[in-house]
């Protein structure tokens, strides 16, 4: 068995290509730049297009245009770039434009620390757009996950016709590691559902689903607009039509949370504590849990790979039997708010850190032992 050796950014790029990505546009930013440089090497030989935009806003615009022509588009940036993407993200949400956005997070706020990791943007990714519409955010824990979640991200983007974020982190994107690429089980590639009837209305859809797609440039004329629109893609002021499409944008995601819920669990018999984490922190949690369990103090863990939409049913089910729930994240408390909202605040404890360094297994053990 030969192991692959690459960082999370390369794994994400390779995972995207394996998922059918054929268009990329991005702007250099540490620690996401190597996704752009990898795509520049990988897409042209595969007949794809890879561009370096004049800025982040342009990069997103290129992806939106390409996606509307039927391409599977990826872009990659870090927190400051997500800020610039914001209004284009809103467009992709409202216009139901499939896109995958990799956010290789770094320590914020603002330009923050270019070469220091943090899970800075966990709430921002969901709420950094206008309109308050649900988005999908996946969180890898290592390079192999970057590869795997790129597949899921493209599949969700195509099925739900929405932007899907991969919330990576400098500590994953720029950490090189070995893994067995052959060991991973990938879901089949999902393609955008094409419209097949007559009289195409670009935004006519079932109340809980994305509309079928036709590309700009095909035989049937297609309209896309960033303005509030009816099923025909023309601007509308009709309150009923507006309410219907707003409701559908929510339902097409929220009615399918179960299918968007990706997680791992390690439930230990006899444990009374469940530790919930995501991203790179999961790895320190796993080490801490193993050491404690070997020492006769079993602790259970739940790893969230899907952060948004919040997997509420999963949280309720998995946390049901635990006296104590500990949330650990590489920030000063972002996702813990969701977990407290779902589980109630009483038994949920939090540990986080925002200083540019990884949370260590020792710190986690201290938190777990300080009952």
């Amino acid at each position: 068995m030969a192991l692959s050796f690459m960082d999370g950014n390369e794994a994400l790029a390779r995972g995207a290509i394996a998922a059918g990505c054929n268009f990329f546009a991005g702007y250099p930013i540490t620690p996401a730049t190597t996704i752009l440089s990898n795509m520049l090497k990988m897409l042209p030989p595969r007949g794809g297009v890879c561009l370096q935009g004049e800025d982040e806003i342009a990069s997103m615009g290129y992806c939106i245009g390409a996606s509307m022509a039927g391409k599977k588009a990826l872009t990659a940036t870090s927190g400051p770039g997500i800020s610039l993407y914001s209004e284009q993200i809103s467009f992709a949400i409202g216009g139901e434009i499939p896109l995958v956005i990799a956010d290789v997070q770094r320590l914020g706020p603002s330009t923050g620390s270019a070469t220091r990791g943090a899970d800075s943007d966990i709430q921002f990714l969901q709420w950094g757009s206008t309109g308050g519409v649900p988005v999908i955010v996946l969180a890898p824990k290592d390079a192999l996950d970057c590869y795997l979640l790129a597949r899921h991200a493209f599949n969700y983007a195509e099925e739900f016709r929405c932007p899907v974020f991969i919330a990576s982190n400098k500590e994953i994107g720029m950490t090189k590691e070995s893994f067995d690429l052959e060991s991973v089980t990938l879901p089949a590639v999902v393609e955008r559902k094409a419209f097949s009837g007559v009289n195409y209305l670009p935004f006519a859809a079932e109340p809980d689903a994305a509309p079928p797609f036709l590309p700009i440039g095909g035989n049937t004329l297609v309209r896309q607009t960033s303005s509030t629109h009816g099923p025909d893609g023309y601007i509308t002021n009709d309150p009923e039509v507006i309410a219907g499409s707003q409701e559908r944008l929510r339902r097409k995601i929220l009615d399918h949370v179960e299918r968007i819920t990706l997680y791992e669990e390690d439930i230990k018999p006899g444990s009374d504590t469940l530790i919930i984490s995501y991203g790179v922190t999961v790895r320190a949690v796993a080490d801490a849990v193993e050491i404690l369990t070997e020492a006769g103090r079993p602790v259970s863990s739940l790893t969230l790979k899907s952060l948004w939409p919040v997997p509420e049913a999963l949280l309720l089910e998995k946390a049901a039997d635990f006296r104590r729930v500990v949330v650990v994240e590489m920030n000063l408390g972002q996702y813990v708010h969701e977990i407290r909202r779902v589980l109630g605040g009483g038994r949920v404890e939090f540990f986080g850190q925002m200083n540019g360094v990884l949370i260590t297994p020792t710190q986690i053990m201290e938190v777990l032992c300080n009952a």
Partner: protein
Amino acid sequence: MHSYLNTSRPPVYCPGCTHESITAGLDRAMGSLNLPADKTVMVTDIGCSGLFDTFFNVHALHGLHGRALTYATGLKLADPSLNVIVTMGDGGLGIGGAHVLAACRRNLDLTLIILNNFNFGMTGGQCSVTTPADAVAGSEFLNQAEIPVDICGIAESAGATYVARCSGLDTNLHEIVAAGINHKGFAVIETLGMCTGRYTKKNRLSPSVLQQMVEDLPPKSGLVARNQRPEYGERYRELCLQNCRYPEPVTVGHQVDFPDYHRQEIAILGSAGMRIVTAGELVCHAGLAAGMNVSMKNDYNITVLRGQSVSEIQISPRKIGYAGSTAPTVVLALSDEGVQQRKKLFATLSPGTFVLKDKSVNIPPCTAEVYEVDFKEWKIAKPDWALAALCFLATKEQAINWEMLDIALKAQFQGKIYLSALGIADKIRCAMATL
């Protein structure tokens, strides 16, 4: 002649608005070229010119303010068979200036029609980047302190291959627009027009004044001879054909048996320019060759050839979880900056830790076994210290051995670089023999 106008959605401009005549001119231009509707897309910006897509029966994409050219670029590169026509006001021109410049430099086959009416019509007549300083606009006195841009001049100097300016009421408008659409490359057409809803209420403007303005400005009548060059999409695809080797992922198989290998954590503490990351990769490769799992976490500043460079490597027979440093088994102290970055680490080192330091490097007190070498004395250049330190480790069989390192060197280096690495290896072996 075929008309593309959407009869069920007639234009809704203020009476006398020049946009009306530009709509008609564009329709006529498209008709004269007999553009297939299903291979034509109208990409519109924000403001009154952003309504254009609704008046035509072609594909349409209406997006954010100033960003129309970005969608147009994505569409055209994704589907080179499309005719892409972009409409934008002087507002979009200002807010999306970077995209206009980029499009001029790139020369992708798009047609940009700028509907310049000297103000923001839709939002109340505020001044824009083209409002004359002596105009009365909706932003109080602000336009009096600025000068308007000549977008055609800017487009030319930014590399646009077709630049034309005319009054939006010009009877030849359709011909100018048709020539722009027909041009293979980026075409910029600036039309000067009247915003009767706002601008002309306070400023004297008439068809003849517009015509005079066009005549007073430097003439721009189409092809820019000095900028002629291949269209971007064609050039892009041509260059892609020359870069057609897909980079396969690096995989390393188990080639060396290292019985009873214990988990190793190696910290290489150096500075930028000392090839610390390359050394880290070599150690990882060596570990992989022994059938181990590896991880490498690097720490450096945003400065390129200055500052610390630290690489932390783990080599383990088991899957690696936490990738940070916990208890290093090997520390290579190669620069003061690198040591400073991890100064707290030294107090935690156990007596079993193998520390190698260059004579010039100061390290905090520690209980580990410290080997001091003088790379300078051994005639090893600073950028090779990290590699030399690995050779030292291999000779001592600490974390790696020579068989492992040699596989890594062969895989990472070729030709002359490999030979020079072997040269360093020989120097270290000789020097160590005399220790």
